[in-house]
C-alpha cells in the first residue's frame, strides 16, 4: 500500500509541477499585477486597487476592441458552424470521392494563423483587386482589408476557411454515431431531405453543437495570430472621437498595450477578457446542455 502511494505521487509530480509553475502561479500573479502600476521596467510595483479597471471603461481603444471582438465572434461563430455543418453533410453523403474531399477540407486547419494571414492578405490586396480591375467589377477594386466596415467580415471569412474543416470533423463524428436506420425509416415514410436534416439529424447532434459552439466561441474571442498577419489592426478609423484601429481585436489590443510598456493596463484588459469569456461560455454550455436534456 505504501509503495502504491509513492508510485501515485511519482506519476503525478511532473505534470502537476508544470501545471503549478506554468498556469496556477502565473494566474494569481496576473490577477495581482492587474491591480498594480506594473510597467515591465521598474522594479518598484505598487498596489493601486481597481484603478486600472476603472480607466479601461473610459478608454475608446479598449471599448472599440471589445465591441468589434463581440461582433467578430458573433459573425464568425455563425459562418464557421454553418459552413462546417454543410461540409459534414456533403462528406457523409453518398457522393464518390467523399473521403478525398473530407481530407481536403481539413488541410487549411494544418496551416497556422500566422502563415495563412499572409496568404489571405495577398489574396485580398492583390488577387481580388486585380480581378476587380480586369473584369471591371467596382466593389472588388478597393481591398476589403482597407475598409473599416468590411474588414471584420473578411477576418471571419478567413477564419472560416481555417476552422471549418476541423469543426466539420466533429459534426461528421456525430452524424456517423446516429443509427442509419433512423434516417432510412424517415426516408421510407416519405420525409423530404430538409425535413430529415432539421427534424432528425440536428436534434440528434445536440451534443456536437455544444462542443463546436464552445470551441468556435472561445477561439474567436481569443483570436490573435491571423489578426496580426492579415490586418495588423488596420485600417485606421475613429470611435468616440478618438483614433482607433478598425480591426484590432481584444487579444491584439492587449498585446499592443503591453508592447507600449503599459503592462498593468494590459493585464487588467486580459482579466476582463477572461471574465467575459468565462461568463459567455458558461451561458452557452448551460443553454446547449438544456437542449440536449430535452431530447
Amino acid at each position: 500500500m505504501k509503495q502504491n502511494r509513492f508510485i501515485n505521487g511519482l506519476f503525478l509530480v511532473p505534470t502537476l509541477f508544470a501545471f503549478l509553475m506554468i498556469i496556477i502561479i502565473p494566474f494569481f500573479f496576473g490577477l495581482y499585477y492587474s491591480m498594480t502600476d506594473w510597467n515591465g521596467i521598474s522594479r518598484d510595483i505598487n498596489f493601486v486597487g481597481l484603478a486600472n479597471f476603472k480607466n479601461l471603461f473610459s478608454s475608446p481603444d479598449f471599448l472599440y476592441s471589445f465591441l468589434i471582438t463581440i461582433a467578430f465572434t458573433f459573425i464568425n461563430v455563425i459562418f464557421v458552424n454553418v459552413v462546417s455543418f454543410v461540409l459534414s453533410l456533403v462528406v457523409t453523403s453518398k457522393i464518390p470521392r467523399r473521403n478525398f474531399y473530407r481530407a481536403g477540407f481539413f488541410v487549411p486547419y494544418l496551416i497556422g494563423g500566422i502563415v495563412l494571414g499572409y496568404i489571405w492578405q495577398f489574396i485580398f490586396n492583390n488577387i481580388l483587386v486585380e480581378l476587380g480591375s480586369s473584369l471591371s467589377i467596382e466593389f472588388l477594386q478597393t481591398s476589403f482589408l482597407s475598409q473599416a466596415n468590411t474588414v471584420i467580415w473578411t477576418m471571419a471569412v478567413v477564419n472560416t476557411w481555417q476552422y471549418a474543416g476541423y469543426i466539420m470533423l466533429i459534426y461528421v463524428a456525430s452524424i456517423q454515431s446516429i443509427p442509419t436506420s433512423l434516417m432510412e425509416a424517415a426516408n421510407v415514410d416519405g420525409a423530404k431531405y430538409s425535413t430529415r436534416v432539421f427534424r432528425i439529424l440536428i436534434p440528434m447532434m445536440a451534443n456536437a453543437f455544444t462542443i463546436s459552439l464552445f470551441l468556435t466561441l472561445t477561439t474567436s474571442f481569443k483570436q490573435f495570430d491571423m489578426n496580426l498577419t492579415l490586418t495588423n489592426g488596420g485600417p485606421a478609423t475613429r470611435f468616440l472621437g478618438a483614433p482607433v484601429k478598425a480591426s484590432e481585436l481584444l487579444a491584439m489590443n492587449i498585446f499592443n498595450t503591453a508592447a507600449a510598456n503599459r503592462m498593468a493596463e494590459a493585464q487588467a484588459k486580459a482579466v476582463v477578457l477572461f471574465v467575459v469569456l468565462l461568463i459567455v461560455s458558461l451561458i452557452q454550455v448551460t443553454v446547449n446542455k438544456k437542449k440536449e436534456v430535452e431530447m
Binding site: 461528421v172 432510412e184 481569443k222 503592462m263
Partner: protein, 295 residues
C-alpha cells in the same frame, strides 16, 4: 442481383440531386484550394511579374527554385535552423505530454480519493483561462525562477518544452481520463495478483492499450505547438538564438514588406513540411481528430 443493384433498390438515388450535390461539392473544394494554388503559382514569379499579373500562370517554373534558394541563402532568417528548432520543440513537448499526462490521468482515475477529484477539476477548469491572462506574468515568473535556480528558462528549448507541458496538460489529461475510465480494472487486478508492481502495471498493461488515444493527443497538441506563435515569441524573443517557423516567417515578412514573391515563397516553405506529413499520415490524423472530438 449484384450488390450495387441491391443497394440501388434499397436507397432510391435521385439522380439529379446527386449530380447537383457533386457539382456543389467540387465548387466548394475548389474554393478551399484556391489559396494554395495562388501561393504556388506566385512563388514561381518575380516581384514584377506578380504586380503585372498575379492570377496568370508563371512564365517559367524555374523561378520557383530561384526564389527558394534566395530565401535559404538569406541572412535575415535561418529557415533550416527554425525548422530544426520547431521540430525539436514539437517532438519533446509531445513526448513529455503524452507520457506524463497519461501517467497522471491513470493515477487520477484509479486512485479514488477526494484529492484526485480536486486535482482533476483544477486541470479541467484551467482550460478556460485564456493565454492572454498568463503570458506576461509567466515571462516574469520564469525569469525569477531561472535566476533563482540558475537555469535558463527563457530563450531555451527546455523552457519552451516545460511551458508546453503545463499548457497542454489540462486537455491531454482530460482526454486520457475519459479513455482510461473505460478500461476494465480487472486487467490491472490480475496483473497485481501475478506479482506485477504498480509502476510496471501501467507501462506493461495500460500504456499499450492507450495507443489510439495517444494518437489523438499527439495530433491535437502537435498541430497547436507546431503553429503556435505567441508563446515561443514571448519565451524565445523575435530574434533570439532559438527560433520557430512562425517566428521566422514573421521576421522575414517584416524585413521584406510587400515583396510578395519572397513572402509567398517563405509561406510555401513554412507549410510544406506539415502538408507532406499530412499526405502520408492523413488517415491517422483524420481518425485521431474525429476520436478526440467526441470524447
Amino acid at each position: 442481383m449484384s450488390k450495387t443493384e441491391l443497394e440501388k433498390k434499397k436507397y432510391p438515388i435521385h439522380k439529379y440531386s446527386q449530380i447537383f450535390l457533386e457539382i456543389f461539392t467540387i465548387i466548394l473544394f475548389i474554393l478551399f484550394m484556391i489559396p494554395f494554388v495562388m501561393v504556388v503559382i506566385n512563388s514561381a514569379k518575380t516581384s514584377k511579374e506578380i504586380i503585372y499579373n498575379a492570377i496568370a500562370k508563371p512564365t517559367s517554373w524555374k523561378q520557383l527554385f530561384t526564389n527558394v534558394s534566395l530565401i535559404f541563402s538569406n541572412s535575415t532568417v535561418d529557415y533550416i535552423g527554425a525548422f530544426v528548432d520547431s521540430t525539436v520543440i514539437t517532438f519533446f513537448s509531445l513526448l513529455v505530454l503524452a507520457l506524463f499526462s497519461s501517467m497522471a490521468a491513470w493515477v487520477l482515475v484509479r486512485n479514488k480519493t477526494v484529492w484526485s477529484t480536486i486535482i482533476f477539476m483544477a486541470f479541467v477548469s484551467a482550460m478556460v483561462i485564456p493565454f492572454q491572462v498568463l503570458m506576461y506574468p509567466l515571462v516574469q515568473w520564469l525569469r525569477i525562477l531561472g535566476s533563482f535556480f540558475n537555469i535558463k528558462l527563457l530563450g531555451s528549448v527546455g523552457g519552451v518544452v516545460f511551458a508546453y507541458l503545463g499548457f497542454g496538460a489540462p486537455l491531454s489529461i482530460f482526454i486520457f481520463h475519459g479513455f482510461i475510465k473505460n478500461i476494465p480494472y480487472e486487467l490491472e487486478e490480475a496483473a497485481t495478483i501475478d506479482g506485477c508492481s504498480r509502476g510496471r502495471t501501467f507501462f506493461v498493461i495500460i500504456f499499450p492499450l492507450l495507443q489510439p488515444i495517444i494518437v489523438t493527443v499527439l495530433i491535437l497538441n502537435g498541430i497547436w505547438i507546431w503553429n503556435d506563435y505567441l508563446l515561443p515569441l514571448l519565451l524565445l524573443g523575435s530574434n533570439g538564438r532559438v527560433q520557430t517557423i512562425p517566428i521566422a516567417v514573421t521576421a522575414f515578412a517584416g524585413a521584406y514588406l510587400k515583396q510578395w514573391d519572397l513572402i509567398l515563397t517563405s509561406t510555401l516553405i513554412a507549410m510544406l513540411p506539415i502538408i507532406v506529413l499530412y499526405l502520408f499520415a492523413q488517415r491517422y490524423i483524420i481518425k485521431g481528430m474525429v476520436e478526440g472530438s467526441i470524447k
